[in-house]
């Protein structure tokens, strides 16, 4: 029966992937630095080949996007803070392995609720009361949007990923419907209601940034040092363990997702009620999805998220600047994508190394 002993002599594979032990802090930073460098080299090549633009000027322009004027700088920080806010909101759910990808919708309904308060009650109640209503209604709306999928998961074990995703589309349609009802001209553009927005401190961005920084510190402490945070970790790591020690898993899921949705709603309040004073279907600007990346890259640590959100927003505003400076469109997005790809991809080299053929050297190679 054994006929194939004389199979053609197989060759050793060129390389194979070997799991590493945990990499030290400095080394893992080094790997990431190399990845960013490699990303800059590759995107420079793309820029040169596709648009014949000098890459040095290109990256200079990118920096200008964030740092050239005080206004740009403040707006850059504010954008990063808003992204950070959504990431902070999603983090407790993610830590619990509840894949809330409905941040976008939760932000949007939070914003919608605050704008609704302004639209119907602006000028009719004292401003202080209006501010309270704007905030409370925004938080509640976000919480409701998030807790519906959580309830269904707890009750019927539905898939939260699909459910939260679908809720995004409902939120968008809801905004469309409201705009249709509110804007009599039919243009679908609601004029900003500047008189009724939340108050500001210093410039129009500072208060939002401060609130979000405080929130970040709060979330760090909540996750690390509170009993709730501990329960979130246990449920996320192993539901069986949670049951074993008597944690009410459903209660923890619903409570945590409520917090997650509420904070997403807060982001919506800060965007619409605090800055824009109006709403459109794109008010959340994809932050609900980008925030997933921010949270994940920071390994769910709120303090690291300050860095990752700044990094990602830097590339976003840089791309906008580049587009206007060089009058190019797609390449700017391509370079952003390349850089993100390298940043995410280098995680592989932090966890694994590649070993080449027997007689070759045995070190990890870090270029993609």
């Amino acid at each position: 029966m054994r006929s194939k002993t004389e199979t053609k002599k197989a060759h050793e594979p060129l390389f194979h992937v070997v799991k590493r032990d945990e990499l030290s802090g400095i080394k893992s930073i080094l790997v990431r630095a190399i990845a960013i460098l490699a990303a800059i080299v590759v995107s420079s090549l793309v820029v040169v080949i596709a648009e014949k633009v000098n890459p040095v000027g290109y990256f200079k322009s990118m920096f200008r996007g964030a740092f050239s004027t005080p206004t740009l700088f403040w707006s850059f920080l504010h954008e990063a803070a808003l992204l950070l806010c959504v990431a902070i909101a999603l983090t407790p759910a993610f830590k619990m392995r509840f894949w809330n990808i409905g941040g976008e919708g939760q932000v949007l309904v939070g914003g919608l609720a605050s704008i609704a308060c302004m639209f119907y009650l602006g000028g009719k109640v004292p401003n202080v009361l209006l501010w309270v209503l704007i905030i409370v209604s925004g938080l509640l709306a976000g919480a409701v949007w998030a807790v519906l999928p959580a309830l269904c998961k707890a009750k019927w074990n539905t898939n939260e990923t699909l459910f939260t995703l679908m809720m995004n589309y409902i939120a968008i349609q809801l905004v469309c419907f409201c705009l249709d009802t509110w804007v009599k001209s039919g243009s679908g553009v609601l004029e900003p209601m500047h008189g009724y927005g939340l108050p500001s401190v210093g410039n129009k961005w500072l208060l939002n940034i401060l609130i979000i920084l405080a929130l970040t510190v709060f979330m760090f402490i909540y996750l690390r040092f509170s009993k709730h945070g501990y329960e979130i970790s246990v449920v996320g790591e192993s539901e069986n363990t949670a049951r074993y020690i008597g944690i009410n898993v459903k209660k923890v899921i619903i409570r945590t997702v409520l917090i997650s949705g509420m904070l997403c709603g807060l982001a919506g309040v800060l965007i619409c009620g605090g800055i824009n004073h109006t709403i459109s279907t794109t008010a959340a600007k994809g932050r609900g999805f980008t925030a997933i990346l921010v949270s994940w890259l920071a390994k769910f640590n709120p303090l690291y998220m300050m860095l990752t959100s700044i990094l990602i927003v830097f590339f976003q505003v840089g791309a906008i600047q580049v587009k206007s400076d060089f009058n190019i469109s797609d390449v700017a997005d391509i370079t952003t994508a390349i850089i993100l790809f390298f940043i995410v991809g280098c995680e592989f080299f932090i966890r694994y190394k590649i070993v080449f053929k027997k007689h070759g050297h045995k070190e990890a190679v870090n270029n993609d």
């Binding site: 194939k4 002993t5 070997v18 590493r20 009993k227 363990t241 074993y244 008597g246």
Partner: protein, 519 residues
């Protein structure tokens, strides 16, 4: 021996991160012999064999088959060289028949005809003395039948070098001796058999030669006829050790936990526990024996408040007041609130008893983090407890802040048992507490259980090694298919008696036939 060398390994090394699973291992397998690979858990036996079977690829070293250097990159390559491995966890499709599983993934040139396959399967079965119905579906099979399918699957593919990973771990003593007879017949047929094991008596009764691994390194190969239990243990552990369990008589045993007519249904809706009644007494170790999956886990989980109970009673007698408390339909927290100190070392250590990604300190808190009204955690007491356990149980760890998943199996278990004992339980339940542990750690755990017994704790010990169960327990409750098939005095019983009780079928039980001829 006159037989030629079939496989030769030279300087094989395999690492996983910092962990060296095999370091410079060289050994050979001859044609027509049964070779045992002996070593404690974690000594690298399975990793080494997985490299021959094409599951892993060695970091360095060479493999020769019939004297020629070969490269085995996948199980397919391995089959090309006539090597087949029977893994510890079976890889079968439940809803397929034996014959369908056997030809699954096999790219035969001839026409696909199931009756043809079935005929050839029967041929192979009868040649070596297996009993197997090729048309039987896997989900209707016992563990031993599934194993037969795995072995025939490998033979069908023309393997003449068979590697069996801990083949007897799931078998009763009777099934084991049947399997050994089959393996001997294969050897007569000229096949090479490698069995991975850590059970010494199997090595001595079955194999021609035995190769010993310790901590990933090759120690020696000896002819079995020259080996003794103590010489092999010494080679395996690295030092002379005396293994005995000091069993004292129970002092003044009183009823602590009374289970009556317990019935449970598992997630698939089948009855997993049926009419189970027994009593656990203080100062006594009650052993529970049975084939894996006979309802042991559900029984312990039902007592701990983790498994829904359909009918029956679970009562606890308070040792200080003598009052009877009902534990049925209570959650683990409610049981605690009643003042019942019930400790439970579950079978799934990292999936249930502990959280792998948390450090030792945070794992210590699992039971106690709720204490106090503050919204914040107090890590001081858990840190003290962690340090105390690390010291008293000699847990090998870089420190109390190391995630438990990075500890070895034995140390993980010490952390878990240490935590459960720290709450001074009145009932201690332990499911397979020494599974995967090396000999020294195992005996440490046995001693801990014995200590608890001396302290008057009612200990319930679910075990798989019958020798240990008989040595350690005071009474042994035998479970078969979710029913109690016997309760024996551990001091006056034999492995064979328990083996028979384990396989006694419910039908015989129902007809009250006490002949004990259960198949």
């Amino acid at each position: 021996m006159e037989n030629s060398v079939a496989i030769e390994l030279k300087n094989i090394t395999k690492t996983f991160g910092k962990i060296v699973a095999n370091r410079n291992v060289s050994l050979d397998v001859r044609r027509g012999e049964i070779l045992s690979i002996l070593g404690e858990n974690g000594s690298g036996k399975t990793t080494l064999m997985n490299m021959i079977a094409g599951i892993y690829y060695p970091d360095s070293g060479e493999i020769y088959i019939d004297g020629k250097e070969v490269v085995i990159r996948s199980p397919k390559d391995a089959f090309g060289y006539g090597i087949g491995m029977i893994h510890q966890h079976f890889k079968l499709v439940d809803v397929f028949t034996a014959a369908e599983n056997i030809i699954l993934g096999l790219n035969e040139k001839r026409k696909y005809k199931l009756s043809d396959v079935a005929r050839r399967v029967s041929e192979i079965a009868s040649r070596y003395g297996f009993e197997l119905d090729p048309m039987k579906k896997i989900y209707e099979m016992s563990v031993s039948e599934k194993q037969t399918v795995e072995i025939i699957k490998v033979l069908y593919r023309g393997a003449d070098i068979l590697i069996l990973d801990e083949p007897t771990a799931v078998l009763t003593p009777q099934e084991t001796s049947k399997l050994f007879a089959v393996l001997r017949r294969m050897r007569e047929d000229g096949k090479s058999i490698v069995i991975i094991t850590h059970k010494l008596h199997e090595v001595l009764s079955l194999s021609d030669r035995v190769s010993v691994l310790r901590k990933g390194e090759y120690i020696c190969t000896v002819d079995t006829c020259d080996a003794t239990v103590s010489s092999l243990t010494e080679a395996m552990v690295g030092k002379k050790i005396t293994l005995n369990i000091d069993r004292c008589d129970p002092v003044d045993p009183t009823d602590r936990l009374i289970i009556k007519d317990l019935e449970c249904i598992n997630r698939e809706g089948t009855k997993i526990l049926d009419d189970v009644s027994f009593t656990a007494r203080s100062g006594e170790i009650l052993g529970i024996a049975g084939i894996a999956g006979s309802g042991q886990r559900e029984l312990l989980e039902a007592i701990a408040g983790l498994q829904h109970v359909e009918s029956g009673q679970i009562s606890y007698i308070d040792p200080s007041t003598g009052a009877e408390e009902n534990l049925r339909d209570k959650t683990p927290i409610q049981i605690r609130q009643l003042g019942v100190r019930l400790s439970f070392v579950p079978e799934d250590r990292l999936g249930m008893g502990l959280v792998g990604n948390m450090d030792i300190v945070d794992n210590m808190m699992l039971r106690s983090y709720r204490k106090g009204n503050s919204a914040f955690l107090r890590r001081k007491e858990p840190r003290d407890l962690a340090n105390e356990i690390i010291k008293s149980l000699e847990v090998v760890t870089p420190g109390p802040n190391t995630p438990v998943r990075r500890l070895s199996g034995g140390n993980v278990q010490k952390v878990l048992v240490g935590r459960e004992i720290a709450s001074t339980p009145t009932v201690l339940m332990a499911a397979y507490p020494v599974r995967g542990l090396d000999i020294n750690s195992s005996y440490l755990i046995y001693n801990l259980l014995n200590e608890q017994k001396k302290n008057g704790v009612a200990v319930i010990f679910v075990g798989e090694d019958l020798d240990v169960l008989i040595e350690l327990s005071d009474r042994i409750l035998v479970i078969g298919s979710g029913r109690v098939t016997g309760l024996v005095d551990a001091r006056n019983t034999t492995k064979e008696e328990i083996g028979l009780l384990m396989t006694k079928t419910p039908e015989i039980e129902q007809s009250e036939n006490e002949g004990g001829e259960g198949e």
